[in-house]
Amino acid sequence: MDLGTFLQFLAAGLTVGSTYGLAALGFTIIFNTTGIINFAQGEFVMLGGLLAVVFMHWLDPGLPAAVFLAVLTTTLVGLVMERLTIRPVQHTSVINLIIVTIGVSITIRGLMMLLWGKDTYVLPAFSGTTPIPILGATIAPQSFWILGITLLVLAGMRYFFSRTIFGRAMLACSFEPKAARLMGISVERMVMASFMLSAFVGAVGGAILTPLTMTSYDVGVLLGLKGFAACILGGLGNPFGAAAGGLLLGVLEAFGAGLISSAYKDAIAFVVILAILLWRPSGLFGAPDTERV
C-alpha cells in the first residue's frame, strides 16, 4: 500500500470517526452525571444536521446562522428532555431511565419525520468542495472542518472540566454525588447542564458532518450505536477515551473496508472491539471500577 492510499483511508476513517467521537462524548457527559446511557444521543446528532437544513429552508439566514440556530435549538431540546422526562422521575432505577430515553428518541424521530418528511437532505460545504491534494491523497475541505471543530470541542471540554468552577462541580457529581451535594453543589442543575452540554456536542457533530454525509430523520440510530460503541471502547466515563474510541472505530472501519472486505467492514470493527473488551474489560482508557449498573 502506497502512502497516498494509506492517507486516503486514514482521512476517511478520521472524518467518520470524529462524529462517532462527538456522539460518544455526549454519551459520556450524561453518563458521568447520571449513570445512564442516553439513547437519544443519536437524535441530538440528527437534530444538529436536519434542523440546520430546516432553518436554511425556512429563514434562509445563511449557513453559519442556520448552524448556530440548529445547535442552539438542539441544546434547548436537551434541556426540555431533562426537565420533562428525567427530573420528575430522577429516583427511579437506571434501566427505567434508559428506556425513557429510548422513548424520547423514538418520539423525536417521529416528530422530525412528521415535520420535515422522510427524504434525505444536504447542506452546502463550509468552504467549497474542491479537494485538497496531500501526498498523493485527496481530501475534501469539509474533512478539515470536521477534524478541526472536533479537536476544538475536545479542547473546550478539557478546559471546561479542569478550569471552570461549573465544570469541576459537574465532574464532582460524577465521582461522588452525595459528597457533591454536601459541598453545596446542586446535582439537579448539573444533570440539566449535562443534558444541554451533550445535546450541544451532538448537534455540533451533526451540523459539521451533514455537508459531507447528508442527513435524514433516521440517521441518529446508527450514529448513536457507533457512538455508544466508541465510548465503551475508549472506557466509559472518560471523555477523551470516548473521543479516541470514536476515531479508532472510524479508522478500523475505513481500513477494514479498504484492505480486507467492504462487506464485512462493520463486522471487522466489532470483532476488534470484542477482542479489546476481553483484553481490557473496562475499555482502553477506562478506570477499572466505573461500572454502575
Binding site: 483511508f9 467518520v16 427524504d119 479537494p131 475534501a140 433516521d218 473496508a257
Partner: protein, 380 residues
C-alpha cells in the same frame, strides 16, 4: 350486560351493512412502507394510491361501485407486513391487493395471498417475486435484469470490458449484484472489483480508492439514496475520471440535488417518467406521464417519483382487470390480469401472460445522462 352489548353491536353492524350494500365498495388492499427505512419509496406510493382512488371515484367508481383502497403501513418491517396481510385477508376481505414496497416484505406476504387465492401486485423489483411464477403474484417495477441489460449494452457500445461494481448491502443492492455477476460474463466483460457498502454508510472513499487501484473501464453503482450521492461526491473528491453508471434506484431529482455538481456526467437507466417532457411527441406513454406528474405535483406539492409510478401501475392494472372482467372477484381479477396486453402504464407498456407476471422488458428503460443538473435523454 355483555350479551346486550353484543346484540346492540350486531344490530348496528348489520344496519350499516345493509345501507352500504346498495353500492358496496370494491375493496382493494395495499401494504406499503410509508415509514421506516423504505419510506422514501412508500410515501409517494401511498400518495399515488390516495389520488387515484379519488380520481376513480369522482368519475363514478368501478362497475358502478365506489373503489375503496385500504392502505396499511408496514414500517418496512417483515412482521408488520405479515400482520397487515392477515388483516387485509381475514378482516377487510379485499378482492385484490397491492404490495409490498420492498422485495423482502413481498416475499414474506406472498404465500399468504396465494393460499388465500387473492391476487397480489407487488411494487418491489426483485426477480424472485415473479420467477418462478406464482399464479397469484404480479409486479409492476421493471426488473433489475432489464436495467442491467441497458447499462451493459451501453457499456459494450463504448468498448468497455473491465467493470467494477459497488452495491449496497440491502435487498435492492443484492438483487442488482446477483444480476450483474450473472450477466457481465455473458457480455464478455470482466468483473474486476465487487465492493459493498452499507445503506447508512457516509464515506465510500476506501472502496473507491481500492477500485481506482484496479483501473477499470467503468464503475457500476447499485443503490438508492443517499449512498449513491455520497459515492458520486467521493468520486469527484478522489479525482476518478472513470465512467460511472448508476442504477434506476436513483432516477429522481432528489439524487441530483444531493450529489450536486458531482452528479454531472453520470449515466443511468430510468423509467420514462423522469424524462416525460423530453419524449418525442406521439410516444404512447407521454400523455399519461405528463398527466400523472401534473396531478401529483398539484395535489401533494412534492416532486413525483418513479416509485409512486409503481403504485400507479399496480392499481391501474387491477382496475383494468376488473373492468375487463365485469366483476370484482379475486379469480376473475387474476385471470384478467394475466391477459392484459398493450396496457400503457408509467413504467412501460405491459404485456402480461400466464408465464410473465411483470409484462415489461428492457425497452421500459431509457438511458439518461445527468447534464446541467437535469436528465438528458440519450438517443439510441
Amino acid at each position: 350486560m355483555f350479551r346486550r352489548l353484543l346484540a346492540v353491536t350486531t344490530v348496528f353492524v348489520l344496519g350499516t351493512f345493509s345501507v352500504a350494500s346498495a353500492a358496496e365498495p370494491i375493496k382493494i388492499g395495499a401494504i406499503l412502507s410509508a415509514t421506516g427505512p423504505a419510506s422514501f419509496l412508500g410515501e409517494p406510493q401511498r400518495n399515488t394510491l390516495l389520488m387515484l382512488q379519488d380520481q376513480i371515484n369522482e368519475q363514478g367508481g368501478l362497475l358502478g361501485r365506489p373503489l375503496e383502497v385500504i392502505i396499511y403501513d408496514d414500517e418496512t418491517e417483515v412482521n408488520r407486513a405479515v400482520a397487515a396481510a392477515n388483516r387485509l385477508l381475514s378482516r377487510d376481505r379485499v378482492v385484490a391487493a397491492i404490495g409490498a414496497t420492498t422485495s423482502g416484505n413481498t416475499l414474506a406476504i406472498m404465500p399468504r395471498f396465494s393460499s388465500a387465492r387473492i391476487p397480489l401486485v407487488s411494487m418491489a423489483a426483485a426477480e424472485r417475486i415473479v420467477k418462478p411464477i406464482n399464479p397469484w403474484v404480479f409486479k409492476t417495477p421493471q426488473s433489475d435484469r432489464h436495467a442491467v441489460l441497458r447499462i451493459l449494452g451501453h457499456a459494450q457500445a463504448l468498448g468497455f470490458s473491465d467493470i467494477a461494481i459497488l452495491t449496497v448491502s440491502d435487498g435492492f443492492g443484492q438483487a442488482g449484484r446477483e444480476v450483474l455477476q450473472e450477466l457481465l460474463p455473458e457480455f464478455g466483460m470482466n468483473l474486476v472489483a465487487d465492493e459493498i457498502y452499507g445503506p447508512r454508510d457516509t464515506d465510500m472513499t476506501p472502496q473507491l480508492t481500492k477500485i481506482r487501484g484496479l483501473s477499470p473501464d467503468a464503475i457500476i453503482v447499485w443503490g438508492t439514496n443517499p449512498g449513491p450521492a455520497v459515492i458520486a461526491r467521493n468520486r469527484v473528491q478522489l479525482g476518478i475520471q472513470t465512467s460511472m453508471y448508476m442504477s434506476h434506484g436513483v432516477a429522481s431529482k432528489r439524487f441530483i440535488e444531493l450529489a450536486g455538481e458531482a452528479a454531472e456526467g453520470l449515466i443511468l437507466p430510468a423509467g420514462r417518467l423522469a424524462v416525460a417532457d423530453q419524449l418525442p411527441e406521439g410516444h404512447p406513454q407521454k400523455a399519461l406521464l405528463l398527466e400523472y406528474i401534473q396531478a401529483y405535483e398539484a395535489r401533494f406539492n412534492a416532486e413525483v417519483s418513479t416509485f409512486g409510478g409503481y403504485a400507479f401501475d399496480a392499481l391501474q392494472l387491477i382496475v383494468e382487470a376488473i373492468t375487463k372482467a365485469g366483476e370484482a372477484t379475486p379469480q376473475a381479477i387474476r385471470d384478467n390480469l394475466q391477459q392484459i396486453s398493450g396496457f400503457i402504464g408509467t413504467g412501460g407498456i405491459f404485456e402480461m401472460s400466464p408465464e410473465d407476471h411483470n409484462g415489461l422488458d428492457e425497452q421500459a428503460f431509457v438511458m439518461v445522462r445527468i447534464t446541467d443538473g437535469d436528465w438528458e435523454l440519450l438517443v439510441e
